[in-house]
């Protein structure tokens, strides 16, 4: 239970339109990720679903019921915030149980629900501590636990991993994916990190300037981007855009992913000069400069060595090119 429907949803602050008409359905049990650059309106959209921002026009519906004018607490949602937002004066146990206590649930039932959530997140040993006595990762686990305890129809995550360090981020990401499998709940997750989006999502919603650019499964977006924005945003390192005319192709720009380029020491389709090298062990990123196309990134697997300034050439597979028109829309 937990299908979300957005119909022509807009939001304006005074004269500025932040969300410019979003239509979206998130199915029951789906893990949906909103992704986009900062200022694209993804957090605002999430806050509108949560009821923390008013909806200027359009409908927000959960399970077919219009919830535009419902208070956040009555929407049967739970939210996890970037800054954890734990209540500083309450213990972990009380933090997790507060929502149920407010809803008038019996004490025994609250204890059971918090106990179960704590076991899921291995928080049992921390239940009597206060947030100030926890590390960042522990705090975020408590915040997730607080959301689980409510058994909401909809989980909302607002960049929950942004404040964690890299190692902890990967660990918590896996934990969230595991929770989604175990709970089977509908989750909406906001992030600006496309790696998080790709690894967690059943479906990704790419937003830009308050509009939905494309909706699809991660591999769908990777293999079949609708425009240059999505093509550039999904995939890391970013897709290279070459000038179509200079290549003798009928397209304004031609996109090719760094992993689909090969590097030759002999002659190839494009000549270039190595300008920078990043060796990561498992992969090597080579940045090369071509006078017509500018800086091009090539992703090679394994360890490679090139000298800066070395003359090399590039080859690409014709079948792995993406063609875009002047407005950035995909041609074929």
């Amino acid at each position: 239970m937990g299908t979300l429907n957005l119909t022509k949803v807009t939001k304006s602050f005074g004269a500025t339109d932040v969300i410019k008409g979003v239509d979206l359905t998130v199915n029951d049990g789906e893990f949906c990720v909103f992704v986009g650059p900062s200022g694209c309106g993804k957090s605002t959209l999430l806050r509108m679903i949560a009821g923390l921002e008013d909806v200027s026009s359009g409908d927000v519906m959960i399970d077919g019921q219009r919830i535009n004018d419902l208070a956040p607490a009555k929407r049967e949602i739970a939210m996890v915030f970037q800054s954890y937002a734990l209540y500083p004066h309450l213990t972990v146990r009380d933090n997790m149980g507060l929502a149920l206590k407010q809803a008038g649930v019996a004490k025994a039932e609250i204890a059971q629900a918090t106990g179960k959530a704590a076991a899921m997140l291995s928080l049992d040993a921390l239940m009597d501590r206060r947030p100030s006595e926890l590390s960042g990762g522990q705090r975020q686990r408590v915040a997730i636990g607080r959301a689980i305890v409510r058994r909401p129809k909809l989980f909302l995550f607002d960049e929950p991993l942004s404040n964690l360090d890299a190692a902890l981020r990967v660990q918590t990401r896996i934990e969230i994916a595991r929770l989604h499998r175990e709970l089977g709940a509908t989750m909406i997750y906001v992030t600006h990190d496309q790696v998080e989006a790709m690894t967690l999502a059943d479906r990704i919603v790419v937003l830009r300037g308050g509009r939905v650019e494309q909706v699809g499964a991660p591999m769908e977006l990777y293999n079949n981007p609708a425009n240059t924005f999505v093509a550039g945003f999904i995939g890391s390192p970013q897709m290279n855009f070459l000038k179509g005319g200079a290549l003798g192709l009928r397209a304004e720009s031609v996109g090719v992913r760094p992993e689909h380029l090969t590097l030759l020491r002999g002659s190839g389709k494009l000549a270039a000069k190595v300008s920078h090298l990043e060796k990561l062990g498992g992969e090597t990123l080579v940045y090369v400069l071509n006078p017509t196309h500018g800086l091009i990134t090539i992703r090679l697997f394994g360890e490679h060595d090139f000298a800066v300034g070395e003359e090399i050439s590039l080859n690409y597979d014709e079948n792995k090119l993406f063609f875009f028109d002047e407005s950035g829309q995909r041609l074929y």
Binding site: L52, A73, A78, M79, F81, S83, L86, Y87, R146
Partner: protein
């Protein structure tokens, strides 16, 4: 601090300046207290001498306590100060919360209007205030003083507190809303504890002018039953003869309660003043 950034001359200079300032600030208090413990003759003979066996005299304190009503004056001052502080902090914090938390038409103007009071002294309105108090029958009541001091303290309270409340995490308040806390609970249970240092700062800044004020008690509540300690001490200052022992004793006693209140707030105060400066 590291050895590399410290030189003896500099440390000495800094302490010399601070000690000079402390001496200047404490000197009047010191003179008041030592002279309150001396006989009248000794006060005039050598005002800066410490009370010795020959000059020690508690006549000032005896006069003050014999006057009888002094306990009442203290009580009045205490009532007025504590009640005013309570209202300043409560209404100030509430207004600050509304200004910093909610988007509504005229938010900016309202904030500006409330801050304007910092620049315009409330004494300019004395005549109008007196007329109002006469019309509402509040002359010679402590209520009149509490109302005026609350109005006097609010602008600074709103100004300081709204700045602090803006820094309280929005996520925390939103988490409360999603968990079903109402706005009052969010304000009292989540936001107020987090701005406690700022509240202490406001309390101390409002406390001292209220306790020391002579103007409004003299105009609005000069009756025997409503006199405050500062007004009460004036009994001993005559046009021709002043009972210095009693005046100094009364003033020395008047320092005590305000010192106690300050000590209660001071631990929080230091945190409030340095918040933001050091993280």
């Amino acid at each position: 601090m590291s050895q590399a950034r410290q030189s003896i001359a500099r440390t000495f200079g800094a302490h010399a300046i601070l000690i000079t300032y402390t001496v200047i600030a404490l000197f009047p208090v010191f003179v008041t207290v030592i002279n309150s413990l001396k006989s009248r003759k000794a006060i005039f003979a050598d005002p800066l001498a410490l009370p010795g066996p020959a000059t020690f005299d508690l006549v000032g304190y005896q006069t003050v306590l014999k006057q009888g009503d002094f306990f009442q004056y203290f009580l009045n001052s205490m009532t007025v100060t504590v009640a005013s502080l309570f209202f300043v902090l409560m209404f100030g914090a509430m207004a600050a919360f509304a200004l910093s938390e909610y988007r509504f038409r005229g938010n900016m103007l309202m904030g500006l209007y409330l801050a304007l009071g910092i620049m315009i002294p409330i004494r300019l309105g004395t005549v109008a205030i007196l007329q109002m108090m006469v019309a509402s029958g509040l002359v010679n009541t402590l209520t009149a003083l509490i109302l005026v001091y609350t109005a006097q303290g609010l602008p600074l309270a709103v100004f300081i507190l709204s700045e602090f409340m803006r820094n309280v995490s929005a996520d925390l308040k939103n988490a409360g809303r999603i968990d079903g806390l109402n706005e009052y609970t969010i304000f009292f249970r989540l936001v107020l504890p987090l701005v406690r240092p700022a509240m202490a700062t406001v309390a101390v800044f409002s406390l001292i002018p209220i306790w020391n004020d002579l103007w409004f008690p003299l105009i609005l509540a000069p009756s025997e039953a409503t006199k405050t300690i500062t007004l009460g001490s004036q009994v001993f200052i005559g046009q021709f003869v002043t009972n210095w022992n009693a005046v100094l004793a009364a003033l020395s006693l008047a320092i005590v309660p305000v010192l106690v209140l300050y000590l209660i707030f001071s631990r929080q105060l230091i945190r409030g003043i340095t918040a933001g400066a050091v993280k």
